[in-house]
Structures are given as C-alpha cells and as structure tokens.
Symmetry: C2
Subunit: 260 residues, 2 copies
C-alpha cells in the first residue's frame, strides 16, 4: 500500500458528518498503528492537505484542499450550462434545484439553487449521499449498463430509507421504469416529507454525466404542481440534451420523428 493510498484513506475519513477528526478517530477509522498514523498525519499537515486546530488538536481538511476545490469549479461547461437552465426553472417553480455527480454508488452535490419556497437546503454542496435514494441519483444509474450498476452497488446491499428500493431487484425495477418513461421521482426517502424529480444529463463530447433534480415539500405541493415540475424538467432535459449532444437526444429525436 503506497503512501499516497494511505493518505487518501485518511482524507476520505472526513465528511460533512465528521468534518474534523482527532488522532484517535483517524487511528480507529483507518485501523493503522499509532506510529504510521502519526507520521502520515504530520506529512498531510505539513503539505497543507490537512490543518490542525491549535487548541483542540483535531485535524480538518487544509488550505490546499480549499484552493484546489475552488479550481475544481473551474471545470465548468456542462455544469454551468445546466446550472443556468436550472436557475430559470427554480425561479419559475420556486423549488430548490440540485446538480450532482455519481461517484461509485454515491452522489456528490456540486451545485444547489435555492428556491423561493421556504424549504431549507438539506444537502449543501460537497454532500455525499447514496445515489440509490435520490431521483437524480437513480436517473444517473439508469443510464449505466446493468453490469456497471451491479459493480457499483456494494456486496451487502445498503440499508436505505423506507421508500427507497430495499434490494437489488427492486432497484433494477425502478431503474427500468426510469429507462422506459424517462421520469425519475422520489418521495419521503432521504428526508421525510421531501420529494424530488430528476434526470441525468450526459455530454456527448466528454461523456461526463451529471444528475439534475428539483426538490420540494410533498405536503406543500399538489399533484398538479408536481405535474408542472415534470413538464418543466422534461423541457429542460430536452433543451440541455440538444445543447450538450447527449446520446439520448438522438434516441428521443428518432422516436419522436418515428424513425424507429
């Protein structure tokens, strides 16, 4: 195991649930001996990837991660194009918008567009959640091959909220439905009372994929309003797919013009 692998293993211990860690935390989470942990933490701190609170002695991601994280944003094009469209939809509907990417079987929130409706933002950028339990996460999974999906889902199927697919078979059924209808919806999953609709966008040029969702309070929306969101999303998806050369665009076009 290389020094870099070990370093990453430590860095991956940090999350929004655990934004800072003590020496003992790191030892417990990585299972590495004391001396190794000591050396590694010092290296990471010295190089700026970690910082240490002088008072509590706890470690947290460092200045370098802040700088590099800002640069990651620069990689725009697909994301900023989607964000622009999403902003308009959120302004019209008042709901909250999310853009996320897939990483393994989880998704990471990249951008959020707060809506005018007072539903507080629950997933700030950087947040990592199981993709299986969100509308845009499942929309992204639905665009992968079945083998790829199987490879991403952990050996032991994770424990998910009540309304999420509870096993691999249920998951595949939902993904098939998304593939057939092109609509991905979630309600009362990650957070009770919150629903969302989403879709996946794939750049024809680079092949990178993002998931776009609009989120709302289930109680505070009518079926008509949700249908409206569905229409808005379908229009946005069609426009973005055309703009980005999403391979799905051709399919949809063919179907609509009866070529197939």
């Amino acid at each position: 195991m290389s020094a870099l692998t070990n370093a990453i293993e430590i860095l991956r211990c940090f999350s929004s649930a655990r934004p800072d860690l003590s020496f003992a935390d790191v030892m417990a989470l990585t299972g590495k001996p004391k001396s190794s942990t000591s050396r590694l933490l010092r290296s990471l701190r010295d190089c700026g990837l970690l910082e240490q609170d002088p008072h509590t002695r706890r470690y947290r991601p460092g200045l370098l991660t802040f700088e590099l994280g800002r640069l990651h944003r620069a990689h725009d094009d697909l994301i900023s194009m989607a964000e622009r469209e999403l902003r308009e939809v959120c302004a019209r509907t008042g709901h909250t918008g999310y853009i996320a990417v897939l990483d393994g079987f989880e998704q990471v929130v990249l951008r959020i567009v707060p809506g005018s409706n007072p539903l507080r933002v629950v997933n700030p950028p950087g947040q990592r959640t199981p993709a299986l339990a969100t509308s845009n996460g499942r929309a992204m999974l639905a665009r992968l091959s079945d083998e790829d999906i199987r490879a991403r889902v952990p050996a032991t199927y994770p424990k998910l909220p009540r309304n999420s697919p509870q096993n691999f078979k249920q998951l595949m059924a939902r993904l098939d439905e998304i593939r057939r209808t092109g609509v991905s919806e979630a309600a009362d999953e990650s957070i009770e009372g919150v629903g969302s609709q989403g879709f996946a966008l794939k750049s024809g040029e680079t092949g990178e994929m993002i998931g776009i969702a609009v989120s709302y309070s289930v109680q505070a929306t009518t079926a008509a309003e949700r249908a409206n969101v569905r229409r808005e999303l379908a229009a946005m998806a069609a426009k973005l797919r055309r703009l980005t050369g999403d391979p799905l665009d051709q399919d949809t076009a063919r179907i609509q013009t009866g070529t197939r």
Copy 2:
C-alpha cells in the same frame, strides 16, 4: 522524496492561472521523468484528487478536492465572525471586503463580500497573491517576529508591483509603520487604480490569524471617504479583537487606559 511529496508537488502546480494541465505541462513544471509523472498522475486520478478531461486529456483538480474544500469552510468561528462584521461594514460603505490567510509569504483569499459599488471582484476565493503587496497581507506580516518574516520572504526578493515595497528594507519600514500606527493601506499595487485598507486579526484562543481588508477604486473615492473606511475598520478591528481575545486587544486596552 516521498510519494506524497511528489503528489503535492503536482497538486501545487495548479492555480487559478493554470486550472488544468497537460501531461507535458506537469512534466515541465515538476521536472520529473516521464515514467514517474505517468505513475503519479494515474494514482492521483484514481484516488479522486485529480480528474482527467476525457476529451482534451488534460488534468484538473478532482472531485475529492471539491468535497474536502467544502469541509474546510466548516472550520468557521473566527472567519465567520469576521465575515459577519465585514458584511455590515461593506453594506454601509459600499466597498468590497476580503478575508484571507497567510501561507508562507503569500496569502489565500478565503471569503469575499461584494460591495454595492460596481468594482468587479478581482480576487475570487482561493486566489493566491504575494502578501507583501496587499494591505491585509502586510498587516498579517506586521504581527510576526522579524526572524519569522525574514524566513518567509524568499531568498531572492520577489518582483512586485511599483507601489509595493521593492526590497526587504522597504518592507520592514512599512511593517514598522503598521506596527506603530495600526493602519495598513495599499494603493495601485496588485491592480492599478485599486486601493485597500486592512488589518490582521488573531484569535487569542487558537492563535490563528486572518487578514481583513476593504477594497475600493482609488479614483472613485475621496480622501474623506478613505478616512471613513479607516474609522469603520478601526471600529471593526476593536470589536473583533475584543470578541476573539486577540492578544493585541490587551495591549490596546492597556495603552488606552494608561496602564503602561
């Protein structure tokens, strides 16, 4: 040289001026042989610290840096307290506010508070600039010991803008002035026509230090307005120093009450 050192060396090649790099760029910037560069880039990409554009094949900071960078923000207290105060001053004066930290002889922008005056934001968060050429940078340096300052300034004094201190002696003279008067000002340095005033804030609890500045157009402000900014900053500095237990607070208090 450890694998981690090499990895960091690569990561540090990225900057807002160079947000993405080709294989050849990395080789040239690090001076490492091809095989080492290849291995290292692959490791960094595989672990999420770098991403590779599938189309251009260029490398850029990866998803992991984005996630960790968001977590760095969590380390709030001192910064968010300062930001709150800065926000009020910027609202009152209409100017743009900056909060930065010192890293070696450079500073990194952490937060910016856009003003209502239409001076475009020139230093987005994550931006790295020589601390010697900014008002808050010099204010931070002024609070270090002379040996510490000497250790931070590179062996060959850097080439700085016209109005910045041009050599070590000039620098020390300006820092002494800041120490005497408590006021740090800059005009026409990093950017022509832009001036700023700043101060350094040090937490009495953790010892961490940040630099706070208000920036404005030199042409568009009168001497009276600049004096007003000076007063606003002095008031903010006094309040924040009291709130954070800045060691300077005791000194100032002692002087003001004539204890010394």
